[in-house]
């Protein structure tokens, strides 16, 4: 059977608080804190991008998988902030971890679900027998326009998963995708910041697709919300995952271990994959986990995993996600943040 053989996370150490952003724009910080359940978000350093964070997360995944990178047959990075418009991210990563040249790679983009797309393809290539190991990554240095609601959540982080058929940390029992053409959030070529449809991003977009995918995969597997120890949903803000969980019949306790957004922000393609890493960090053999991503445009990928005995063996081999989130953090003022995010540039 196929499944996850190694997983790893990476979160930059810089943070900015909601109050610090709100202060600059004269906005009401309590409404973001209470209304959207956001406190602070991660910020990449000036020299960090989707590729560097993908490398960091993959190195952590390799520490848990303990395989020869040469045996990885496919590398997929899902992101909406690939540093180059033309030139792959995946080639740099594959070279950096020593997987070249006998490897297939592709960069994926589907708003916030590009990460789970990479996981979906890598996992199913492994299942088909075409490759021995596959690597799927979700990573983003998310963009949010200055002063826009997105600026309070757009964050940076990466999660990497290596899939194989032996020495599984988590068996993959089921996958399912649910997709429609729903334009709730987009960024055109040459635009730096995305645009969004405001409240339209809620009911007809996020909620419709997550409930569609979650219900679809549970029906396919013949399972109910009570059959899962944990569930991870895409986390554009703090409130939505709990609300969609309630709509589907999940309890708060099933969601909380993978709910990172209040301190992390929305890492776009990294969001639900990072939630899966923090959930695996605390899970026990036999636990059933449901993962449902969401990407604007719009669609959701669903996965059902069953944690194996090997989790106890690999857990401590790489940094745990909640440690990355809480330790060694560096708080930025808005000016530094603006510089780090290239919102202001030094004169030549």
């Amino acid at each position: 059977m196929e499944g996850i053989i190694g997983y790893g996370a990476y979160i930059p150490r810089n943070r900015i608080k909601v109050e610090e952003i709100a202060k600059v724009w004269g906005a009401d910080a309590p409404s973001y804190k209470k209304g959207l359940m956001l406190e602070e978000k991660s910020v990449p350093s000036p020299d960090q991008d989707t590729i560097t964070m993908s490398v960091e997360a993959t190195k952590n995944a390799l520490k848990r998988a303990l395989i020869d990178p040469k045996d990885i047959g496919a590398v997929y990075i899902g992101s909406e902030s690939h540093p180059y418009a033309v030139k792959p991210s995946g080639t740099v990563l594959a070279e950096a971890i020593g997987a070249t040249p006998d490897v297939h790679t592709a960069d994926l983009e589907f708003a916030c679900k590009a990460g789970t797309e990479g996981m979906f393809i890598a996992l199913n290539l492994v299942a088909s027998g075409a490759i021995k190991y596959g690597l799927g990554i979700g990573a983003d240095t998310s963009q949010g326009a200055p002063g826009d609601a997105l600026e309070y959540s757009a964050a940076a982080g990466a999660a990497a998963f290596i899939f194989g058929k032996e020495n599984l940390v988590a068996k993959a029992h089921e996958t399912y995708s649910y997709m429609t053409d729903t334009p709730d959030f987009w960024r055109r070529e040459y635009q730096y910041y995305p645009q969004h449809g405001g409240r339209f991003t809620g009911d007809p977009a996020y909620f419709k697709h997550i409930t569609g995918a979650a219900q679809g995969i549970m029906d396919k597997a013949g399972m109910k919300p009570q059959d899962f120890q944990y569930v991870i949903f895409h986390q554009p803000n703090g409130k939505f995952p709990f609300r969609v969980g309630k709509m589907l019949g999940f309890q708060k306790e099933q969601i909380e271990p993978g709910w990172l957004v209040n301190k992390l922000g929305n890492t776009y393609s990294g969001s639900s994959p990072l939630g899966l890493t923090s959930t695996l960090d605390i899970s026990q053999p036999g636990d059933m986990i449901l993962l449902v991503s969401y990407g604007s445009g719009a669609g959701s990928d669903g996965f059902i995993f069953e944690v194996t005995d090997r989790i106890n063996e690999v857990r401590e081999r790489a940094p745990k996600t909640r440690d990355l989130l809480s330790k060694n953090v560096n708080y930025l003022e808005y000016g530094e943040y603006a510089k780090f995010r290239h919102k202001i540039r030094k004169a030549d």
Binding site: D28, S31, G35, G197, G198, R199, F200, D203, P204
Partner: protein, 384 residues
Amino acid sequence: MREVAAIGVGITKWGELWKKSLRDIYVETALLALEDAGVDRIDSMYVGSMSSGLFAGQEHIAALLADYLGQAPVPSTRVESACASGGLALKQGYLEVASGMSDVVLVSGVEKMTDVSGNEATYALGTAADQEYEGYHGITFPGLYALIAVAHMEKYGTTREQLAMVSVKNHKNGSKNPVAQFPFEITVDQVLNSVMVADPLRILDCSPITDGAAAIILYPAELARKMGKPVVKIIGTGHATDTIALAQRTDITWLNSTYLAAKSAYAMADKKPEDIDIVEVHDCFTIAEICVTEALGFVERGKGGEAVEKGLTAIDGKIPVNPSGGLKSKGHPVGASGVAQAVEVVKQLRGDCCDRQVPDSRIGMTQNMGGSGASSVVHIFERE
């Protein structure tokens, strides 16, 4: 002039109707009114719509909607008077039937507001203010009504809590209205702690952005009696204007256009404020309802806040105000609100309002207002 009766009404669920276009919302509502009236043809129609151009990129909707309702080639007229467009459409329809020019007239209001962003909607609504002397300085409607609120609080001692109580009352009524956009109750604390919009008005003091329509069929009362249906007549209509810019008024706490429109309607109907059993008013902001109840003569000047606090305007109070939930809870598709007020009053007078029915209502009133009170339209209805 002939006596005029409302013989059919139609309204459908209001809210963020992303799956329906302007014409869908209109047609389904108008068909309900035709069905309720038991008619399959009309002689003429009026459509109240404030800004279908800015909200939906569509002008010429009078012809469009007649076409999509399958009623072309009847004459169809669009009426615009900002948020009073619906009320004014009703007045025009009334005049057409009263004059004998037409027998069956469909009056409706429609607005599709959620196809644009919040900023674009705010701009569209802002065009109802004086663009050169108000809009130019950056003020939008929450700001204008906030100025009225501050002045009312300073002049009459109206409290922040009293403003909140308007919202709480209207949500309580709206919680029993199946078509309301926000059919749930809220508390004073929730209002006081909601997001600040324009000091002192918070988001729960403000009516929402809504997609919706409402429709009503007018017919000569004499012919309606022969149909054997409950006859609800329009017995008074009043319409007045005021300075479009708030700054031009001598007293911004006083809605003179509402006062004058009501005066005309009372005179025409030969009624006094004490005769009115229920009233639907234009609570676009909580302070608006307080000012309107004063201008309509239900309470003394400056006592509108006290009235809501004492429960005089509650559904079981001396003068039930906004039994439908008002603009706050039911929603505010700007061109449709004035017609929806009439729909509610007709249903109340017919006894069709189930849980929110005000018992033994015979005489009802509607007050619909454009801008910060530059236009007001008042109607008085009576069930025979």
